[in-house]
């Protein structure tokens, strides 16, 4: 994956949008979800994306997460222009450089906490010699050892989110993408999770991009991007 940096992606930024437009063709007419968005996110940034429902927040996050590609414009992730990339390459990009944290945690119900963390690492390395590393990552999330063998259904929301963050971190990605990470948690647990993300940003230099409705959560970010009707305001 360490390929030459595309010329249009040159620079210090880890994520760069240049006039990115995303149009969803629908039977009732095309819907423009993002219109000519230009945006630079530097390494180590902590960014909150805010905006009303349907404003294009999710589309922005999906594009950053390489789950979708722009209709037009250049989108660079880690110096690579993802326009026209194959599904296989995008998948590898997600696996190796991006960590996902979801509102509903989205752990795999069939796997234990530890196995959930092992999953992306096995995907990447193809090796099961990763138990120690995964336990280390889980420990750093302040999760009790006894819970490692529990299935997600046996864990509380806060515990599940800690496991999910551990899963996002296990391949040591530079970018963490969080979609309402505290949306399903009570205030106290939510604050603990935000502290965890804050530490990851501060101590380990992870670039964090987070979608949120909650202004108190957005306060953790260095920068807030507000988006209305597909445009950055």
């Amino acid at each position: 994956m360490e390929e030459a940096i595309s010329p249009e992606c040159d620079g210090d930024t880890i994520i760069r949008f240049r006039e990115v437009t995303k149009v969803y063709p629908l039977p009732g007419g095309d819907v423009v979800a993002l219109e000519k968005v230009s945006l630079d996110i530097g390494k180590g940034d902590f960014i909150a994306i805010m905006g009303p429902s349907g404003s294009g927040k999710s589309t922005l996050l999906n594009l950053m997460g390489c789950l979708d590609t722009p209709t037009s414009g250049n989108l660079c992730i880690k110096g690579r222009n993802i326009w026209g990339m194959s599904d296989e390459d995008l998948t590898v990009l997600r696996r190796d450089y991006l960590g996902f944290i979801f509102q509903q945690f989205n752990l795999l119900p069939l796997l234990t906490a530890l196995e959930n963390v092992q999953y992306p690492l096995i995907l990447k390395t193809g090796s099961r010699e990763c138990r120690e590393r995964c336990i280390d990552v889980l420990r750093a999330m302040d999760l009790d050892d006894t819970l490692y063998s529990h299935k997600p259904s046996e864990l509380s929301g806060g515990q599940q989110q800690r496991v999910a963050i551990a899963r996002a971190l296990v391949n040591d990605p530079e970018i963490l993408l969080a979609d309402e990470p505290t949306g399903n948690l009570d205030t106290k647990t939510g604050a603990a999770i935000m502290h965890l993300l804050d530490d990851l940003n501060r101590d380990r230099g992870k670039t964090i991009i987070m979608v949120t409705h909650d202004p108190s959560v957005a306060e953790y970010a260095h920068r807030i991007i507000r988006i209305v009707d597909g445009k950055i305001s």
Binding site: G65, I122, R167
Partner: protein
């Protein structure tokens, strides 16, 4: 290592939904057992038939033309003369030509009255056609050899006397080995006497049929044609058939019956395949969100595909192996019920059906898994993630 993890995920999913997995496995088991039992039954049937038929595939039978097919004995009006036999002998040379008298007669054995077939053969020809079980071959003119079944039914032993009424009386010199049903002669149910004795006793000069033994099977067609050309030059005087062709026709027919029953088994396997398809599609639908998650955290399409194929494979593997084991019992049961014997069960040509059955079971499961696996792998991760 990837594969192991996906296999493990598939295994856990099969276990989580154990009831419907069990039902799908049951379907495969039934399919495999049916296909294998039917196959074994068909094969045993063919084996049993070919065993009971005299295995002589090397004979050409020449009978007087009667307009229809009638072999064996009894056509007193239409017979083969010495001249005919000589002509056949010449056209079939150097192969052995055996003229046969046949008729039936009332017989008195001890105090019992019965009716049996009587064959008249030259003593020199008998060892070519028949084998002796007990006693010896015919030497003198007043001896008789008795077919195995006939001897058993009438409690005839070497040394017994058979009285053919005014035709005369015979002493049993030998009991023949059981020969099976033949197209030429069926001595199992009758007795064999010297040709001259027959000719006198039955007042019959001409022969009922001529058997030509062909040493090299490849020449059978040639000899048959040669006889046909010589004898039926102007009009059809004789019918010429070769036992191999009849044997082949019969075996082909039973082979077709066996194929047919196996196909019925195959249909039940298809039904099982549909049920796997069904539960796999259910599994995909239930796990759309999960598929979205694993795709978003870096699982390739082909890996998702593999995971679902493993699931089908696990169902197929369990179903087929249990089915394979059970079909031995199934095959045993059908053989016992239909053929009253299991001697044709433990032979390679029967047991190979277990391999076929298990193979088809696995194949059906995998094929049924393809579409669901393809469907799962082609989901758009964003839509899948949003799915509730």
């Amino acid at each position: 290592m990837h594969s192991l993890m996906f296999f493990e995920l598939a295994r856990r999913n099969v276990r989580l939904h154990w009831l419907r997995s069990l039902l799908a496995i049951l379907g495969i088991i039934i399919g495999v057992v049916t296909i294998v039992s039917m196959g074994i039954l068909g094969n045993s049937l063919v084996l049993a038939i070919s065993d009971s038929l005299s295995s002589v595939g090397d004979s050409i039978i020449v009978t007087p033309h009667t307009g229809g097919m009638g072999f064996g004995g009894g056509q007193s009006s239409n017979l083969l003369s010495d001249r005919d036999v000589e002509q056949i002998r010449r056209s079939a040379a150097p192969h052995v030509t055996i003229p046969v008298y046949s008729g039936s007669s009332r017989m008195k054995i001890g105090s019992e009255d019965t009716v049996g077939t009587v064959y008249g053969l030259r003593p020199d020809d008998i060892p070519i056609l028949l084998e002796v079980e007990e006693g010896s071959f015919l030497r003198g003119s007043s001896g008789a050899m008795v077919g195995a079944t006939f001897a058993e039914q009438n409690e005839i032993k070497v040394g017994s006397r058979i009285n053919l009424g005014e035709r005369g009386s015979l002493r049993v010199v030998g009991i023949l080995k059981e020969r099976g049903m033949g197209f030429d002669i069926n001595p199992d149910f009758g007795i064999v006497v010297e040709d001259q004795w027959f000719s006198q006793a039955f007042e019959q000069e001409e022969y009922n049929q001529v058997i030509v033994k062909v040493k090299d099977l490849n020449e059978i067609e040639e000899v048959k044609d040669s006889i046909d050309r010589t004898m039926n030059r102007k009009e059809t005087v004789v019918d010429v058939i070769d036992t191999r062709a009849i044997l082949e026709t019969i075996l082909t027919t039973f082979g077709q019956i066996s194929t047919f029953t196996t196909v019925i088994g195959g249909i039940s396997l298809i039904v099982a395949g549909v049920s796997i398809l069904n539960i796999m599609l259910m599994s995909v639908t239930e796990r759309i969100k999960e598929i979205g998650v694993i795709r978003s955290i870096g699982t390739q399409r082909k890996e998702v595909r593999r995971m679902f194929l493993y699931e089908a494979l696990i169902l197929g593997l369990i179903g087929s192996s249990i089915g394979g084991a059970l079909s031995l019992i199934g095959g045993y049961a059908v053989s016992m019920v239909m053929l009253q014997t299991t001697e044709y069960l433990f032979v390679p040509s029967s047991l190979v059906y277990i391999v076929y059955g298990v193979g088809f079971g696995l194949g059906t499961s995998l094929i049924s898994g393809f579409y669901p696996a393809w469907k799962a792998s082609n989901l758009n991760p964003i839509d899948a993630l949003r799915h509730e």
